[in-house]
Amino acid sequence: MEQLAGALVTVVIGVLGCAAYFFGSNFLLDAAFPSRGRDPLTAARNMRRANAIRPWLFLGPALLVLGIYLVYPVFESLRLSLHDRSGRNFVGLSNYVWMANNPGFRESMFNNMLWLLFVPALSTFLGLVIAALTDRIWWGNIAKSLIFMPMAISFVGASVIWKFIYDYRAAGSEQIGILNAIVVYFGGEPQAWITIPFWNNFFLMIILVWIQTGFAMVILSAALRGIPDETIEAAVIDGANGFQIFFKIMIPQIWGTIAVVWTTITILVLKVFDIVLAMTNGQWNTQVLANLMFDWMFRGGGDFGRGAAIAMVIMVLVIPIMVWNIRRASAEMEGR
């Protein structure tokens, strides 16, 4: 109750503070460069100056916050990755050398690549198929809402839900996990799914696919609706069947959007952390880069150097896809 009240007060202060900042700063600006009651020449000059400054008043807070929380950490991470665990003594590239020879890092790299191949591909594919199918049925919108809903669940929340699905009870006792319940119903042995090396990676990935399919579906559904009907009718007259129309006429026309969805999910996958932390914490060969970084930085004594080095790797992996994604997205925008 106390926390709730605290949160409420914070929100109110925050909103009022923002409003006060914008009103106050604009008031001061207008007071500094008054345009009313002056001779026309001064008024015009003051107005011009005020208008040159005003955008920065609005942008200022955002730029400041971005600087503190995004730009500064990049440089600080780079610095830390070249220092020892305390962050005080310069050690050159030795953190990176250690990383290259570390089996835990290699395992994480391998798993991340698995995630990278599997999750974006499956999410985009399912999203596309569902978007195309739900457009043709009367309960399509209900289906879409249900599929979109997991988007609203946090990764940790989703992991908790799926923990129940994969839950394991010893053979003979009542299975509360639906997967084991099904296996036992068909006469199989219950399994501790998330402890089966290699395959457990996929059991974890499914969670992210479950969340991200909704996102892919919504974006691709909009893109599919943007395809001019006439091109499809022309293809019908040309004799194309449903599959040919889908693959040869519709998909190529939304290829740009598919690429944006794919890369957006790819970036998300490279940063995947919460699901692994909540499900296995990297045990049973499910370690990924972000969780490894977290382990080194905040657990086991806190080695800021090694943690930062792993963070740099993640950043280097993300940047090219990010750049391509943004370019692609703005090109799409112009095309409209």
């Binding site: 001019p228 006439e230 022309a234 007259i237 004799g239 290829w255």
Partner: protein, 362 residues
């Protein structure tokens, strides 16, 4: 030979009837234009022929075969859309080849037909381009080329010139006319709301209104002998002037009294039962001339005159409630606003309609 036959074709969406039973025979090699105001069902009718809309009632035969339940690609038709409907991700060549590739034609045959079509439409140098690198007129030519490649029995055009600017529209219209001349066995059905396109292209025009055929006939037949008020006012620009009238003397030649009190003599036979009945008197703006002397049809004040160079239009207000009488005289004959002018017309060019709007045939 009949290329296409529509028998009592109907279309309804749920309980709303859009097409109320259309009967039409189209001969092989004929150029037929469907024309009518927006919402009259002309595009729907074309799309039913194409197979893009289901036929709710009646039978449609192409080449003697009932095609109601045959998919579009098997009907022997090709369609040119208003928005071109080119596949944006394919080159001009691939756009034209797509249908044949689906039909699994041989590479040589595809190449031969695409190049032949490109040659006819002067598209050879653009074959490698994407549609977005072409102008509107070129895109429409590609769309026509794609239709030619299908080698159809019936060409369907759905307002193909509406997205082009005025100059290109005329040029493309002439190209379509030439195309039809070069393929005398191919039937063409063309939908438009532009009566100039209809008049210039058509062998026969089908005038549609509210899902019904108003009249079918050659352009000149429609112009000189409209079957009813709707056709009379739809064909011709500016539209035919209609004045309320009363039949003064029925017989082999008819005398009517117009609003304004003047009498008109028409070479139109009317039944004696029409004596004294109200009627509608019609005269085209271009048939009216300025009257010299006492022999005139009506007199009115010019509310506005528009000089277009080749012709001058006078708008006469006050004779008919709400609508001005329009007069089209050749050349530049300016008249001062408010000036009272008398007009007459050759008695062979006058039209008469009964109270229901049906035409008394000459």
């Amino acid at each position: 030979m009949t290329a296409l036959q529509l028998k009592n074709i109907k279309k309804s969406y749920g309980t709303v009837d859009v097409i109320h039973g259309v009967d039409l025979d189209i001969q092989e090699g004929e150029f037929v234009v469907f024309v009518g105001p927006s919402g009259c069902g002309k595009s729907t009718l074309l799309r039913m022929i194409a197979g893009l809309e289901e036929i709710s009632g009646g039978t449609l035969s192409i080449g003697g075969q009932v095609v109601n339940d045959i998919p579009p690609s098997k009907r022997g038709i090709a369609m040119v859309f208003q928005s071109y409907a080119l596949y944006p991700h394919m080159t001009v060549y691939d756009n034209m080849a797509f249908g044949m590739r689906i039909a699994k034609e041989s590479k040589e045959e595809i190449d031969r037909r695409v190049r032949a079509a490109a040659d006819i439409l002067q598209l050879t140098q653009y074959l490698d381009r994407l549609p977005k690198a072409l102008s509107g007129g070129q895109r429409q030519r590609v769309a026509i080329g794609r239709a030619i490649c299908r080698d159809p029995k019936v060409f369907l055009f759905d307002e193909p010139l509406s997205n082009l600017d005025a100059a290109l529209r005329v040029a493309t219209r002439i190209e379509i006319a030439k195309l039809h001349e070069s393929m005398p066995d191919t039937t063409m059905i063309y939908v438009t709301h532009d009566q100039v396109e209809a008049m210039t292209l058509a062998d026969r025009i089908v005038v549609l209104s509210a899902g019904r055929i108003e009249q079918v006939g050659s352009p000149m037949e429609l112009y000189h002998h409209p079957a009813n008020l709707f056709v009379a006012q739809f064909i011709g620009s500016p539209a035919m002037n209609i004045l309320p009238a009363r039949v003064e003397k029925a017989g082999a030649e008819t005398i009517v009294t117009l609003t304004g009190g003047r009498q008109a003599f028409l070479d139109i036979a009317t039944d004696a039962s029409q004596q004294g009945k109200p009627a509608k008197f019609g005269v085209r703006p271009e048939d009216l001339t300025v009257a010299q002397g006492e022999d005139y049809l009506f007199e009115g004040q010019v509310a506005l005159s528009e000089a277009l160079g080749e012709v001058t239009l006078y708008y006469i207000e006050g004779l008919v409630e709400g609508e001005p009488i329009v007069v089209k005289v050749p050349g530049n004959q300016p008249v001062r606003r408010g000036e009272s002018v008398r007009f007459t017309a050759d008695r062979s060019k006058l039209h008469l309609f009964d109270a229901e709007g049906l035409s008394y045939r000459r």
